[in-house]
C-alpha cells in the first residue's frame, strides 16, 4: 500500500508554547463571544457575568500574543508578519491562515480592550462612566460587541484551519480541526465563566444558562471529535499510542463525565468538578492534536 503523502513532510517544531496559545487564544475568543452574547440577551443581573468574560478576554489574548512572539526563533522580527520589512507596506496574504491570524490577533485585542475598559467602567473601577457606552445596549457598544464577537470566533477557530493548511499528517488530513477548535473554545470559555461566577454567594441566573449551553457544546464537541476520527481513515492508526490514550481520557473525563455530572446537578464544591474537567480536557485536546502530529 502506498503511504499517505503527508508522511513525507517535516515537523515544524510547534510544541508547548503553541499548544498553550491554542488554549488561551480559544479562551479569549470564547469568553468575549459569551460576554457579548450575555450583554445582548442576558438579564440585567447577568451583566456581572458578562464583565467576567471581558475581564478574561483581554489578558488571555495579550498572553496568547506573547506566547506566539516568544515561540518565534527571531522574536524581535515579529512585526514582519504585519509590515513588509523592506518596503514597510502591509503584509497580508488572505490565503495564509497565519498571515490573516496575525492581523486578527491585534484587531481582536483592540476590541477586547474596549470591552475590558467598559467592564471596568461599569464595575466602578474607572471613574469614567461614559465608557459604558462601549458595551451593549448602547448602539456604539452593540457595534463593538458584534465585530469583537466575530473576531473572537475567528481567533478561536483559525488555529485549526492553520493546522489544516499545511502538509502534516493528521492536521492536513481532516477539515474538522477548525470547527473542533471553535466548539471547544466555546465549551472551555463557558466552563471558566461558570467556575469564576459560581464562587460568588449568589450566582447570577445566567450561570445556569451557561451550564446548559456548555452541556450542548460539549456534546457537539464529542460528535465533531468522532467525525474527525472517522475522517482520518487509515491515519487513525497513529493514535494507537499514548496520545490516543490521552485523547480517550479527554473524551471520558472531559466530555462524557461532565455530561453525566450535569444530569445530577451538584451544589457547593461538587458543582466545580464538571467545569474544571472541561477546562483540563480542552487544554489536553490541543496538546494531543499538536504533539500527535509533531512526533511523526
Amino acid at each position: 500500500m502506498t503511504p499517505p503523502s503527508t508522511l513525507f513532510t517535516a515537523p515544524p517544531g510547534w510544541h508547548w508554547l503553541i499548544a498553550c496559545y491554542f488554549f488561551v487564544g480559544g479562551l479569549a475568543g470564547g469568553c468575549y463571544f459569551l460576554a457579548a452574547l450575555i450583554d445582548f440577551v442576558g438579564e440585567p443581573e447577568d451583566r456581572v457575568l458578562a464583565r467576567l468574560g471581558y475581564y478574561v478576554a483581554l489578558p488571555a489574548i495579550v498572553l496568547g500574543g506573547l506566547l506566539l512572539v516568544v515561540d518565534l526563533q527571531r522574536p524581535e522580527r515579529f512585526w514582519h508578519m504585519l509590515l513588509q520589512s523592506q518596503t514597510w507596506r502591509p503584509m497580508l496574504k488572505s490565503w495564509s491562515p497565519m498571515s490573516v491570524g496575525s492581523w486578527a490577533l491585534p484587531a481582536f485585542g483592540f476590541f477586547a480592550l474596549l470591552g475590558f475598559v467598559a467592564a471596568l467602567a461599569e464595575g466602578g473601577a474607572l471613574c469614567r462612566p461614559a465608557l459604558i457606552a462601549l458595551r451593549p445596549p448602547h448602539p456604539l457598544g452593540c457595534v463593538v460587541a458584534v465585530v469583537g464577537g466575530l473576531l473572537g470566533f475567528y481567533v478561536s477557530g483559525y488555529t485549526g484551519v492553520l493546522l489544516a493548511v499545511t502538509n502534516r499528517p493528521i492536521w492536513s488530513d481532516t477539515p474538522l480541526l477548525g470547527p473542533l477548535f471553535v466548539v471547544s473554545a466555546a465549551s472551555v470559555s463557558a466552563a471558566l465563566l461558570v467556575l469564576l461566577a459560581g464562587r460568588s454567594e449568589a450566582p447570577p441566573p445566567g450561570v445556569a444558562a451557561l451550564e446548559r449551553f456548555d452541556g450542548w457544546v460539549v456534546a457537539l464537541e464529542l460528535l465533531l471529535l468522532i467525525a474527525l476520527a472517522g475522517s482520518l481513515g487509515g491515519l487513525l492508526r497513529f493514535w494507537v499510542d499514548r496520545w490516543g490514550l490521552a485523547l480517550l481520557g479527554v473524551v471520558i473525563l472531559g466530555m462524557l463525565l461532565p455530561l453525566a455530572l450535569r444530569r445530577r446537578p451538584a451544589r457547593g464544591r461538587g458543582a466545580t468538578v464538571a467545569p474544571v474537567l472541561v477546562l483540563v480536557a480542552g487544554f489536553l485536546l490541543r496538546v494531543v492534536i499538536v504533539f500527535s502530529s509533531e512526533r511523526l
Binding site: F33, G42, M98, P205, R212, L224
Partner: protein, 262 residues
C-alpha cells in the same frame, strides 16, 4: 524574467560520493551539526539522514538487501529543494520572506524570516528546516548568488558523474526524456521521471530520474498544496461558529422565556 532554471538529478549515475553535500555546505557557509562532533546513524552508511536547515543537499542511500544479504542493490539519490512551480512554502509564508526569483526558483530571505516555521509544515517534501545559527528557516537557494553572477550552483559544479545537471528547465526536461529512452533501450524498464511535467505542483524545477517507486526514495507519490484544505476548513469552522452562536441564543432565550412566564 530569465528562463526558469533548475536541476535534473539522474539517480542512475549517482555514486554516493557526497561531493554535492560538501560543495553546498562550503559555498553556503553552512555550519556543522552538533558543534562538529560526528554522529553516526548506526543503521546506514549515510550519516546525513535528511535535508534540513543545515543540509541543503542530501545524498540519500537506499540500501536494498535481502535478509541473508546475498542479493542487494544501492539506490543513490542526491535530494534537494524541488523549487516547485506552485510552492507550498511560498504560499503560507506570513512574512513574505519566501520569494520567487527571476530564475523561477524559490528562495527564503534570511533577513526577513522570523522563524515561525509555517513553511516547514507546509512543504510537501520535508525539505525546509531551521538553521539554529541564524534562527531562520533555510533550504537550497539554487545558489541564487552564483546564478546572479552567471555561475552554476555549487553542487552541480562539483558532481563528478553529472548526476546533477543544471540548466534551463525546458532543456533539462528534453535531456531527461532522452535519458529515460536510452535506459529503457538498455533494459532498465523501470526508469521514469519524477516531477518533470506540470501535473505535480505545476512542475518541479528540480526533478529526478528514478528506477523504483517514489516512496522508496522518500518522495511522496501525490504532493499537494496546503491551500487545498483552506476552503472546506474555513467553511466548516464558520458553520461551527454559527451553530455555537445559535446554541448560545437558544439556551439564554429558553431561560428568559421561562422566567417571564406567570
Amino acid at each position: 524574467m530569465a528562463e526558469p532554471m533548475g536541476f535534473f538529478t539522474d539517480t542512475t549515475v549517482c555514486i554516493g560520493c557526497k561531493a554535492c553535500e560538501v560543495a553546498c555546505k562550503e559555498w553556503n557557509q553552512l555550519p556543522a551539526t552538533n558543534g562538529g562532533v560526528n554522529t553516526l546513524s548506526g543503521d546506514s552508511y549515510d550519516n546525513t539522514r535528511r535535508l534540513d536547515g543545515l543540509h541543503w543537499r542530501h545524498v540519500r542511500f537506499v540500501e536494498q538487501f535481502s535478509a541473508d544479504r546475498r542479493q542487494g542493490r544501492w539506490l543513490l539519490m542526491s535530494d534537494v529543494c524541488k523549487h516547485c512551480a506552485q510552492a507550498g512554502c511560498l504560499e503560507v509564508c506570513p512574512t513574505g520572506a519566501i520569494i520567487r526569483t527571476e530564475f523561477d526558483t524559490v528562495v527564503i530571505q534570511s533577513d526577513v524570516c522570523n522563524g515561525c516555521r509555517d513553511c516547514i509544515a507546509a512543504c510537501p517534501f520535508g525539505v525546509i528546516g531551521m538553521n539554529p545559527v541564524s534562527g531562520t528557516a533555510q533550504k537550497c537557494t539554487l545558489c541564487y548568488d552564483r546564478l546572479q553572477s552567471g555561475l552554476e550552483p555549487a553542487c552541480s559544479k562539483a558532481c563528478p558523474t553529472d548526476s546533477i545537471q543544471f540548466g534551463p528547465v525546458r532543456e533539462l526536461r528534453e535531456r531527461a526524456e532522452r535519458r529515460v529512452g536510452v535506459l529503457k533501450e538498455r533494459g532498465e524498464a523501470d526508469a521514469y521521471l519524477y516531477g518533470a511535467d506540470e501535473k505535480m505542483l505545476g512542475g518541479l524545477n528540480s526533478f529526478f530520474l528514478l528506477v523504483d517507486r517514489p516512496e522508496v526514495y522518500g518522495l511522496p507519490i501525490d504532493p499537494r498544496l496546503p491551500s487545498r484544505n483552506l476552503r472546506w476548513s474555513t467553511a466548516l469552522s464558520a458553520a461551527g461558529a454559527l451553530v455555537v452562536g445559535l446554541l448560545g441564543l437558544f439556551t439564554f432565550r429558553e431561560r428568559g422565556g421561562g422566567a417571564r412566564r406567570p
